[in-house]
Amino acid sequence: MAIFNNPYNYYNNYQQYGQQMQQPQQNQQSQQIQQNGFVSVRSEEEAKNYPIALGTSVTFMDENKPFVYAKTMGFSQLDRPTFKVFKLVEQNQAQETSFNNDIDKSKSEEEKALYEALNSDIDHLKKEVKDIKKFMKQFEED
């Protein structure tokens, strides 16, 4: 029988594929939520309806809007999946510089306040030393 012309080759390949599909895939002994990569969806509705396995978390990227959705399923079929929506905000160079400037500004104000407090303490100490010297001088004269 010629191998290449065997019409049953396709059936044999299909059988092997079926056997692979039936092998147990999930290991639920380690009870940790498994993360997967981004899945593209066209709408929030599609993300909400997307089938998700127990103990898994899937993150979706909306193709039409700047949103990311995260759907997490617990370890029990009785649990309802949690669904979170995140809005993507682009952080460009100008915004990053102004953000850093705000940090620098707040730092310098803090330093300024500390410097002023130290200065005031030094002035107070100087005044006390002056008073003591005056008292000592008076005492010596007497």
């Binding site: 147990p24 895939q25 990569g37 593209s40 396995a53 127990l54 899937v58």
Partner: protein, 74 residues
């Protein structure tokens, strides 16, 4: 298995081959009609995993976005 049962099974295959395949190959109950329900059943029974589903979905999305298949796949 007698000839009548064989004939009956052949008839059900002819009428709805996908349903026959789902029930006998993947043990999908008859009351599950929507694709998402069927997929959820396969996930719950461990016959497919989340990665396989995501990859299949990705391939489907690529085909949908391919202009050569435009309109053929929904």
């Amino acid at each position: 298995m007698n000839i009548n049962m064989l004939m009956s099974q052949l008839q059900s295959i002819k009428n709805n081959p996908i349903q026959f395949l789902m029930q006998n190959k993947f043990n999908v109950p008859q009351n599950l009609n929507s694709p998402n329900d069927v997929i959820q059943h396969l996930l719950n029974t461990g016959q497919i995993n989340q990665n396989q589903l995501n990859q299949a979905n990705q391939k489907l999305r690529e085909l949908q976005n391919n202009p050569n298949f435009n309109g053929l796949i929904k």
